[in-house]
């Protein structure tokens, strides 16, 4: 067997991809390590301050708050996301409308995101929104001044964008369960509720674990939704980690600090990914 990289047929095919990744991912990540030791505004040459930026991370109350906001968002989005996806996928499985409904649910994930933001804004805004206007302000999510409402909005938008993919994940898991397993349970006298809770849900565990993982990532990456809808406000209540990073570098122009923050977040992301890979492998057994 040819296992040595050099002898793999067509091995050179991977070179363009690897070269580009080295230039546009690996090199910038190494460079950011160097930037993280600078006090730099992104324009004039920076001044070396060693580990100053990293030390600052530990005393930054805003960063702490941003971490809590991110975790809160994940904690409230995840259970809803997973439950909805499982309920919908089980309900649709094998029905006449399965394909068309799944197609509709997947649409928001691709829809021009700036247009989605416009739709959401003009629909739900507490002042100019159509719902608030029709109901004379009786039905309105006060995300202009209430932190919880703004966070709810960002969470709802994140679910809106990603629920279609989540349903596909559970559906794929469902289709992997052999019909015989369900029949056998029924023959043994299990009712539909028991089939659902005692057979189907436990067998879906790998899919649901996978969903929890990507759902967590979506919550962490909701910074685009934050930028489009709330800009971190009101009073910083929706400043998730990704948005905090953006603000630090591109609105406050603290590139060195932003770089140090990126490095720590990257380490966290890798640790997170490794743990999840392990959890996934565990759940497949």
């Amino acid at each position: 067997m040819k296992h040595k990289f050099n002898f793999t047929p067509g091995w050179w095919g991977v070179l363009p991809s690897l070269t580009l990744l080295a230039i546009f991912v690996l090199y910038p990540l190494l460079q950011v390590l160097q930037i993280s030791s600078l006090k730099w505004d992104g324009v004039v040459a920076g001044e070396g301050i060693g580990f100053g930026n990293y030390l600052r991370l530990f005393g930054d109350a805003d960063l702490g708050r941003s971490l809590i906001t991110t975790l809160t968002l994940a904690a409230f989005v995840l259970p809803i996301f997973v439950t909805l996806a499982a309920t919908i996928a089980i309900e649709l499985e094998g029905t006449r409308f399965e394909r068309v409904i799944k197609a509709i649910l997947f649409l928001p994930g691709l829809w021009t995101i700036g247009a989605s933001a416009i739709g959401w804004y003009t629909l739900y805004a507490p002042d100019y929104g159509i719902i608030a206007t029709i109901t004379n302000g009786a039905v309105a999510l006060p995300w202009g001044d209430q932190g919880w409402a703004a966070l709810t909005l960002v969470g709802a938008f994140t679910i809106w964008q990603n629920i279609g993919y989540a349903v596909l994940v559970v559906s794929a898991g469902l289709k992997g369960i052999p019909q015989e397993t369900l029949e056998a349970a029924r023959v043994d006298g299990a009712n539909e509720n028991q089939v659902r809770w005692k057979i189907v849900i436990p067998l879906l565990r790998p899919s649901l674990t996978f969903l929890a993982v990507i759902g967590g990532l979506y919550a962490l990456q909701s910074y685009t939704a934050v930028y489009l809808l709330t800009r971190g406000g009101p009073f910083g209540s929706t400043r998730v980690l990704g948005y905090f990073l953006y603000e630090t570098a591109f609105e406050k122009f603290e590139f060195g600090y932003g770089a140090a923050l990126s490095m720590c977040a990257l380490l966290l992301a890798f640790t997170f990914a490794a743990l999840q890979a392990r959890a996934l492998r565990g759940s497949e057994q």
């Binding site: 991809s17 394909r99 559906s171």
Partner: protein, 265 residues
């Protein structure tokens, strides 16, 4: 017709119904508001009504149509380059190059973490405020390599071995055997790659702040920020800029969802 393997419940049906409304509401509202006359906002209660095409006629060229064209061109170009670079890479990995873990690792880097590192690199290369900044960093995409690799992993590889024994070289195999067999995955990868690039918001805003190089998302964001209560104008802009995605999706929907679902099994 296939029958349901699991019986539905009333609660489940209600959940599906509510979620469908929740999903479709913003889209239907956009389509409706695009035809509302500008004075609709001043109606103090009840559902605003009226019909006009004026909103579409008045869409600004420099701050909307031009960015729309730029985005269409650049995102299409990126997708073509992505497939050109990713297919040989996926083929090499499927043939035995042990690089899959590296690609999976790169896949786990959250996009926002690349904002500052890329900004530094583009600054050094003199590519800030240059539309090439929208192209180069996106050509090598670990997700697309992974998607194509999953497709290749399902092909019977004896095919390829046989072609090799018959004296076909790798380029012939790639073009004449692999690419045709992999069409569903390549289509799905193209649609998803296009949408991902098309929907970038913060990156183009940061690396291209000259209005000359606004992308469609930057243009929409600016419009919403300036005129948050111009329902008709915003709706028309949103519908026009969503049309390319809608058309792509209507044509290729089943390939996208099937490939994703198949890849998840």
């Amino acid at each position: 017709m296939k029958t349901a393997r699991l019986s539905g419940t009333w609660l489940g049906k209600i959940v599906v119904g509510v979620v469908l409304v929740f999903i479709l509401l913003p889209i239907i509202w956009l389509a409706y508001s695009a035809f509302l006359p500008p004075d609709a906002i001043f109606k103090t209660s009840g559902v605003p009504t009226g019909f006009t095409l004026e909103n579409f006629a008045k869409l600004p060229f420099d701050t909307l149509i031009r960015p729309l064209i730029l985005s269409l061109v650049v995102s299409s170009l990126v997708v073509v380059l992505q497939l050109t670079v990713s297919l040989p890479a996926a083929y090499a990995i499927r043939s035995g190059a042990k690089l899959l873990p590296l690609y999976l690792l790169l896949l786990s880097i959250p996009a926002e973490l690349m904002l500052i590192p890329l900004y530094g690199l583009l600054k050094d290369l003199g590519l800030l405020n240059n539309p090439l900044a929208l192209v180069f960093p996106f050509i090598a995409n670990p997700f697309i390599v992974f998607l194509l690799y999953s497709g290749l992993a399902k092909l019977p590889w004896t095919f390829i071995e046989a072609a090799r024994l018959d004296g076909a070289n790798n380029i012939q195999i790639l073009l004449k055997i692999v690419a045709p067999l992999l069409r569903p995955e390549m289509t799905a990868a193209a649609v998803l790659g296009f949408a991902a690039h098309w929907n970038l918001v913060l990156y183009p805003k940061v690396v291209l702040d000259n209005p000359q190089w606004w992308t469609v998302q930057v243009a929409l964001t600016e419009m919403l920020r300036k005129d948050p209560n111009a329902w008709g104008k915003l709706g028309a802009a949103a519908m026009v800029t969503s049309l390319p995605i809608l058309i792509l999706y209507i044509i290729f929907e089943s390939r996208v969802t099937k490939t994703l679902e198949g890849g998840l099994k």
